[in-house]
């Protein structure tokens, strides 16, 4: 179709004629696409990252035996089959610590008198992100070490590396002490040993007192997970640690609101920037429009011509800019969270589409050119 051929020939000429100016526009469009892509990607990633960042608070879900009528130490327990069920239900990037608590008398090699202390047997199950299979991580299992809280160490006048003897009724365990950093919580006055050692000491094989889960996710995901888990293990009581779940939910809403607001502002602004640049180019086309009209171009066809130009510019700028923006966001993610932001593929087409849209919308002032009468343009008026 000769008509279409002519159309594209004119568009090609339009590009060729004003290389310098077009480069500036392309730069503006590309920069805006880069900014859009970087911010959108960072925004999606930051929310995700934030939920993971909350895990520095430690466990947020606790599984305890349902029946706690008796309050004799260590008697109310969960069976390890429950731990296994919990472990199988863990979502990616979560971990579960099972604990068995008991009170035992502790004596160090050089201490005069044994001291009663809480012994916590601990075993950690962690979900590996790559394999999505849980693996039992027991760093202290074979080394026969026990982690002594600072307060307990003080009480025992303990030096790191001292041998500790733990005794409960007739059973006895010994281990080499490692002194933990001050944490300011209950663990400062506890002695952490392996779950197996604690079970032997308490004569409660295959039993645990409670399971602490650390699960990443949005507040809603965590609520849903708690509900699902509670249904899965009716023998236990599953509840969120309100102190952390509540605060996390609150902070998450605030931060994600802030992020959305700033992203929206910046996007509006980049749109404005592109519009300013495109409008200027459009107004400079006055002479061209006058000429085309004078030689018989219909207003609609002339407009279509310029819109096609704008769309092509938007496409080119968007393709290059969005790619640069994704790279930028990877780097930004590294500076903010210490981990490179994962590029989301959906962001790429979205930012390219947004750029094209902005380019076309900002050519809107061209409509005003429709009213130009060729004669006045050639006379140098207006």
């Amino acid at each position: 179709m000769p008509d279409r051929k002519m159309f594209w020939r004119i568009v090609r000429r339009l590009f060729a004629a004003q290389r310098g100016r077009l480069l500036v526009i392309l730069l503006a469009l590309g920069a805006s696409a880069a900014l859009t892509a970087a911010l959108l990607n960072l925004q999606v990633d930051a929310r995700d990252r934030l939920t993971r960042e909350f895990r520095v608070f430690g466990a947020n879900i606790i599984v305890t035996p349902r029946d706690t009528k008796s309050s004799v130490a260590g008697v109310v327990t969960l069976d390890e089959s429950t731990v296994e069920k919990v472990r199988q239900s863990l979502p990616p990037r979560a971990s579960a610590d099972s604990y068995l608590y008991l009170v035992a008398s502790v004596s160090a090699a050089n201490s005069v008198q044994p001291v009663s202390a809480v012994i916590a047997g601990q075993r950690t199950a962690r979900i590996d992100q790559s394999s999505l299979k849980s693996a039992i991580v027991t760093p202290r299992d074979n080394k026969n070490l026990c982690l002594v809280g600072v307060k307990a160490a003080q009480q025992l006048h303990l030096q790191p590396g001292d041998r500790l003897t733990l005794q409960n009724d007739k059973t006895q365990e010994s281990c080499i002490s490692v002194i933990a950093e001050a944490r300011g919580d209950a663990q400062d006055s506890q002695i952490v040993v392996t779950l197996d050692a604690a079970q032997r000491l308490a004569s409660l094989p295959n039993k645990v007192s409670l399971i602490q889960l650390s699960v990443a996710g949005t507040p809603r995901e965590i609520r849903e997970y708690i509900a699902a888990l509670a249904q899965n293990i009716p023998e236990a009581d599953v509840h969120g640690l309100r102190q952390f779940t509540d605060a996390e939910a609150k902070i998450y809403t605030r931060v994600s609101g802030l992020l959305t607001a700033t992203t929206a502002l910046v996007l509006a602004l980049t749109g404005l920037c592109v519009m300013a640049a495109m409008t200027n180019v459009a107004m400079e086309r006055k002479n061209d429009v006058g000429l085309m009209k004078a030689i018989g171009g219909a207003t609609r066809r002339v407009l279509r011509l310029f819109l096609a130009e704008a769309a092509l510019l938007g496409l080119a700028g968007g393709l290059v800019g969005a790619a640069a923006g994704l790279l930028l966001s990877i780097w930004l993610g590294k500076t903010v969270f210490g981990v490179a932001a994962r590029p989301r593929l959906i962001v790429y087409p979205v930012s390219v589409a947004l750029t094209i849209l902005v380019a076309i919308v900002s050519s809107y002032p061209l409509r005003r050119l429709a009213n130009i009468s060729p004669a006045s343009v050639f006379r140098g008026e207006a």
Binding site: L50, V115, G184, R254, L258, T262, A268
Partner: protein, 432 residues
């Protein structure tokens, strides 16, 4: 003559100038809003993080090891040491007193409970549980004679009470929800509590859901716990919730090894560790610990969010600079023929540049000012939507915005101005 030319240029093409000014104002408004929110966000979020509760734990220095499992202390009632309640007002006398948003002392007593339910008349057998004495909402007398109201409703804001909190001076109690479910206690019931040889009766006013070991305990006024344990005027642990600055390497240094200048700098920063050091100074015989889990998590998240927001503000700034620069460049290019005419009648490149720059600067100040006003409103809306509190307008932001507007317009017009100064008058006037 110079002023007349400037005034004329604004008078003759008001619409064009208005457009450039509007672009400027909008850009600056967005930057103002982003900056105001970013400046404010640290404080706001620090307050939000107080929902995590206490970040400092204060215990007696010479305490025996607590033998607490699942909220039940297996330590005999008389072992361990206690702290005097009357000293607590002194906490609000430290340098960082205004950063302390709340504190609550706790004393736990192992007890046996007999329930006298209004609905169920069969006498039940005694149940062992822990009674935690604390303040619900207590007025502490400060050394300067004023009162300060604080308690668990400040430090443990996640505690949810179905019913009412107990009054601190009445024989009332709230009951943890698991304990209540197990024993069928309802608000209005009376509990008979025995501890060693002492006993008391408490009215249940509410059911507590705390999501912690307290769910399995009874929480009552501190006074009641003191009576039961026969330790009048004493407590065992104190939770302090303070607004703190995220810790850095400097914060972790040992204050006893610092020189005078460093020590002053350290005590004048509201680090959790320096606040706990100051508390140790005013309360004799205590150990103040930073609850690492809370304090460190808070610190790392605050730092990250703040960096993120500054980055976003910086992006806003970049975008605004581009937009304003582009429109001011266009404004100069447009006036090519005017420049040609001025040259033709003998104006030097310097004069023309100065004239155009003055025009742009005027526009920048007006646009920047208007933009600041719009931005402050925008920031208020955003702040109120997100945090429920509007950020304070800051003079600093105003100055930055004006300087920025001037900078950006000048930079944007610099390249076209430079080119304009090299224009030959004749071709422009011929329309080439």
């Amino acid at each position: 003559m110079f002023l007349r030319l400037v005034a004329d240029s604004f008078g003759r093409r008001p619409r064009r100038k208005l457009l450039t000014g509007a672009a400027l104002a909008l850009g600056m408004a967005v930057v103002t809003a982003a900056f105001s929110v970013s400046l404010d966000v640290g404080d706001r979020l620090a307050h939000e993080f107080r929902a995590l509760g206490a970040n400092l734990l204060i215990t007696p220095q010479a305490d025996s090891l607590p033998l607490q499992i699942g909220g039940v202390d297996y330590r005999p009632a008389n072992s361990g040491s206690y702290l005097p309640e009357q000293d607590l007002g002194k906490i609000k006398t430290i340098f960082w007193r205004n950063n302390i948003v709340g504190f609550a002392p706790v004393m736990e007593v192992p007890t046996e409970v007999l329930i006298d339910a209004s609905t169920n008349s069969t006498p039940s057998s005694p149940i062992k549980t822990t009674l935690a004495g604390t303040w619900a909402h207590h007025s502490v007398a400060l050394p300067d004679g004023r009162g300060y109201a604080t308690g668990m409703d400040q430090t443990n804001s996640w505690w949810h009470v179905d019913g009412k909190w107990f009054r601190d001076d009445a024989p009332e109690a709230i009951v943890g929800k698991s304990f209540a479910a197990r024993t069928n206690i309802k608000p209005g019931d009376t509990l008979h509590i025995n501890s060693a040889d002492r006993s008391t009766a408490l009215t249940v006013t509410g059911i507590l859901s705390a999501g912690g070991p307290e769910d399995d305990a009874i929480v009552a006024p501190l006074q009641i716990a003191q009576q039961l344990a026969n330790k009048p005027g004493q407590y065992r642990r104190l939770y302090v919730s303070a607004l703190t600055k995220p810790e850095d390497d400097f914060a972790r240094r040992n204050p006893t090894t610092m020189n005078a200048a460093d020590l002053e700098r350290w005590s004048c920063s509201p680090y959790a560790s320096s606040i706990s050091y100051q508390i140790e100074q005013v309360l004799p015989g205590v150990d103040a610990h930073v609850i690492r889990r809370v304090a460190e998590g808070e610190g790392s998240i605050l730092t990250r969010v703040r960096t993120l927001l500054w980055l976003a503000s910086f992006a806003a700034l970049l975008a605004a600079a581009l937009a304003v620069g582009a429109s001011s460049a266009a404004a100069v290019i447009e006036r090519r023929s005017e420049i040609g005419l001025m040259k033709a009648i003998g104006a030097g490149a310097g004069t023309i540049g100065f004239l155009l720059a003055a025009e742009q600067l005027l526009l920048a100040f007006v646009g920047g000012g208007v933009g600041y006003a719009i931005g402050i409103i925008l920031a208020r809306i955003l702040g109120e939507k997100i945090f429920g509190v509007a950020p304070e307008p800051s003079i600093l932001v105003f100055i930055i915005i004006l300087a920025l507007a001037a900078c950006v317009t000048l930079l944007g017009s610099a390249i076209p101005l430079h080119r304009a100064s090299r224009y030959e008058a004749a071709p422009i006037l011929r329309g080439e």
